[in-house]
Symmetry: C2
Subunit: 302 residues, 2 copies
Amino acid sequence: MLPFARVTIIGLGLIGSSIARAVRETMPTVRLTGHDASAEVREIARRLDLLDDVTDTAGAAVTDAELVILCVPVGAMGAVAAEIAADLPAEAIVSDVGSSKESVAKALREALPGAIVVPAHPVAGTEQSGPEAGFASLFHGRWCIVTPLADGDAVAAARVGEFWRRLGSNVETMAPDHHDRVLAITSHLPHLIAYTIVGTANDLAEVTESEVIKFSAGGFRDFTRIAASDPTMWRDVFLTNKEAVLEMLQRFSEDLSQLQRAIRWGDGDTLFEHFTQTRAIRRSIVDQGQDDAAADFGRKHD
Amino acid sequence: MLPFARVTIIGLGLIGSSIARAVRETMPTVRLTGHDASAEVREIARRLDLLDDVTDTAGAAVTDAELVILCVPVGAMGAVAAEIAADLPAEAIVSDVGSSKESVAKALREALPGAIVVPAHPVAGTEQSGPEAGFASLFHGRWCIVTPLADGDAVAAARVGEFWRRLGSNVETMAPDHHDRVLAITSHLPHLIAYTIVGTANDLAEVTESEVIKFSAGGFRDFTRIAASDPTMWRDVFLTNKEAVLEMLQRFSEDLSQLQRAIRWGDGDTLFEHFTQTRAIRRSIVDQGQDDAAADFGRKHD
């Protein structure tokens, strides 16, 4: 039996449009309704025939929904939830895909008092944005973290988990605040670092931009992928998961200072020891199917 | 006409063995001789039939060479050059593949007074090591930077450039000190940052290693690839390109502090503006063929 017969997606960018495609592929009888704040995006979604109905207002999209998934930047969650409040059926479950969860849980609870809220976060994505960048297999073999509220509806959380399993995800459940600490180190800090170093390279006068681009295969290009991610989404993530990000950043800075000191003093043993430990982590990530084993990310070498 | 008829490769790891394979493929009449300090690596190279002759000493490998390429960690260049000094033909050109160039140029000149030295650096590689990790197309479409000495032999430098073009590389020429500054930002700093953040994640007690690995698709896994690179090679790079690395690190730390401050004070405009600029760099790297255009590095989704 399907976890939901009528699903509404608000926000039809990379993630929202990928959910639509994945639902079509794995649960073709589900009635899919959607909305996006951008008229241009709605037009593209209609042209691509991603959903059964694309409505011009958020409220119209949710009137008979069983599950509503908000796929908008985390800073916009509260406003979008307020937009659907009047039309949301009492028994509908409201979920989301945001990358920070405590702030989203709070925003949804405030905007939708009494509604059944089950925040969630599929840990999947690419550096591209928009409805045309989505694809049905984006969630295959990736984790989706469901973060039920402490006083939330357990059956609703289980149904949301089942929905994500149908899309091909592995589902994990944890509290919103623990989620935010885990993602601060596995996702938010890496993005911040990548954004920083790409900016640093761009500001160098003596090393030209064309040299940075030409010789990026030496390592730099690996950082540029995630530094090409959606700016609005990431601005919101850093502002809404501030405490955890700042703490991880502090730890990172201390560790960087230690290696900096080792370089300055020519302490090769400290460097060697550190560099040896980090190899094992990569191996585990590949072993557990979270990345390609192929060298160089499987980039084509002819 | 071939730039060299007899080529010797000292050090048969990822880069050395890839050169051997590429020479076999593109210049099959070249006589290839090689040596590695490790008996095990020599045995593997013989079994894989990578070269016409694998000798048990470095000296024996160079006796009739026209081009000798040292493919060892940059900290070992001086010692290996000293080993071949007595057997090196006077007209032979000695080159290398090291990632820092001023220190290598100095080490080679000191160990081989009077020899024709043309340092070079193919900006190519993977996170894997050893003779079995090499492949012939590693240098295709990648840059090779030739860094002739100020008082060096221009004809020799041109021949080395032609050799790399035959292996499929694009060739650029610059002074060793400029090379070291360019690579400090495009390669050395990215590796240092990646090594650091992977270590930081590994040291967290509250977020378990298994959580870091599970949810690495959120961005972290992109860093683990280069943090899995060869520890000896990278220790030597940081110790031999200390000044440029420390300077780039200083700039990076200042930029990171600026973003940190924006997060702490909730300055979304500064974050958004910064994140918008970095997208353009990624586009240029893809446009110039230095990385795959496919989303997510073209990782398989299925």
